[in-house]
Amino acid sequence: MLARGLLAAAATVFVGAVGVAQIRQEPDRWWNPGEGRIFPATLDYQNENGTLRLLLDGGPLKTEGHPFFTASGPNGRACVTCHQPADAMSLSAESARRQWDRNGARDPLFAASDGSNCPSLPQAERASHSLLIDHGLIRIARHWPPRDLGGKPIKPDFRIDVVRDPSTCNTDPRYGLTSATPMLSVFRRPRPVANFKYIEAMGFAYDPKAGMPLQVDPETGKPVSGNLMADGRVPTLAAQMRDAASAHLGFLKQMDAQDIARILDFERRLYVAQQQDRTGGAVDADGAIGGPRTLQVSQPGRLGSDGGAPVWSEFEAWEKVPEATKAKWSPEVRKFRESVARGARVFREKTFLISDTAGINSPIGFGNPVRNSCVFCHNMSYMGMDVAPGQVDLGTTNQPFADPAPHLPLFRVTCLGKPHPHYGRTILTSDPGYALTTGRCADVGRITLQTMRGLSARAPYFSNGSARDLRGVIDYYERRYTIGYSEQEKQDLVNLMRAL
């Protein structure tokens, strides 16, 4: 409640093209398609925990007529609709709620195709959009059986049945699993479109989780990072754009090469991170190097344990500065900064047993279980992405590990060949994840690791939004892996994540 009040009252600081801060009559937090605002080189937004900063390499961008910001399809949406600057280029559930309260179903965000629980529902009703409004989830419709990149059907090694369908879309005669063109609807959070220098980086030429070299972009013949889409359904940003244009934006024709190039140029120049904490102050003060500037100038794809900066060592200085410097900090600032620095160490050093997690404990060869820390997977310097990309099943969508989610569909997967290495022959899941791309039972629930930047601006978390806040993320991991975090460690990790 307090947070909502703070957000509503917060002033957006709009910083000019040459970096000179000036307070203006700020535009609305929400970017509507076609507004024609200038996207400045530095753009700040207040959130519950402080200030998010977006940095655009190469100076301001005129958004008028720019394809990222311009609606080209009949539903009135542009890329910016679901990738809002104030939400770290993702979409917070808070923003979705605000748009519903303002505009109801008229807002392009609530387009029937994926901004509602199912297009066949009465679109004027709030209940028809509950997954987006209450959980920040967009409908993702996948062909069943899956198709490869060339559109050829893949023969899956599992059968899938609908157990529960509160969205009504999986049992819908037109959009469901038994329709003329069988589709399966899952509901996911939009992924942030920024910091792509890191997301697209490849630390190795191999995906150890697949036991193969990285996927190759059929358009360029070059290998591509596996850190892009939640279910790895397309290998590149350009392919993602085409996928989004038809699935989410309702474009009636393909994006042309020039539009794609302009969007790519924008996305690849954009860096996003929390810049200021409301308690701890600037995250790049007194020797720390948090914030988006470090992302802008650092090398991507470095393994924090082998050649790169240790993951989240950006905050090491706050632990090591002389006592005389710390003495100048207020008690609140000191407490927060020391907590963030401890959180970074806990993230790197606190080991626990990781078990029954496809993509880690199978099929790579690490063993089941294996002792390691958060940086086992979140290993890329400055970003916490996976340098060896690929998909992992944390259990957030699969029973018995997933939290109860009566609002989500539930599917029963029956493996027809070899049983799943950890779940056996039958799996209950709200989102089969990567298995919807590969058709493999062993991939059920595997989902691509998410970026950890700008977290304060884009709750809820995990692909299905199952963690309402940052504490929810820690609590999930604690339950899933029986880690044994102390209360202090949990708070330190929360403080670390809110400063990213």
């Binding site: 030429a205 070299p213 090398q299 050649g307 279980p369 294996v370």
Partner: protein
Amino acid sequence: MIRGAFLSLLAFAPAVEDSVKPLRFVACPVYRDTDNGRKSGCWLTSDPATGVRYDVTAAPTKPDWNHAILVEGKLSADATDHCGGRVLEPVRVSVLEGACTRHLLPAEGYKGRRFALPERNVRPLYQARKQQQKPFVEGRFTIPFDYRSSFISYQISDYYLDATINYALDVQPAVIEIAGTAQTRPAMVSGVRLAEDAALARSRAEVVRKALILRGIPAQRVRIVERLPGPFVAAAFDGLNSPVDRRVDIRIRPE
């Protein structure tokens, strides 16, 4: 460095000395939770024929506590007991489909071993790689596999695959021949009949072929053959005989 690594790969068979009697058995694994940093836990298992408990932690691919394992190894000359079992090294572990009751032992005073990066690890792309220099010679490579698996395992199969691919990339154009092998001769091990399907030889070869193509080798230059004459790279097996039949051999002939 790469050249050095390549030369070490060319330690051709027969280099396998059976100075210590090799062990081969099927059993359930037990995990001992020795917390000595990341990847420091111990893997133990007992040979059902003798009841002797062995430490198989040194295996490049580790067990799954829900499944039986095929153990192939030799007693280590180093008798130090870090985990609560007689150390097998070199050793290979293959995860089988047979179910096991998972069991975790506490450390009980054992320290385990601190993890050290194994020598067989693929180096990151951002590290400069020394390329092969002309004149190019014929390259021979071997990729080992676990029992009933065509999966390229981390820090063992991928290391040898990476060496193969890098060599192929350096000497292009080249003719590349791939021959897969499967362990088809049946054997009774711990009362379990072990034999690989003959089709697995082809599957393994296909995996390697696909990997080469994915990394940019023209498909028309990669050919799967029945078998390749001459020696395989024995270093991939660390002196163990029984895993030798589960492999892919590659010959790269520069043009």
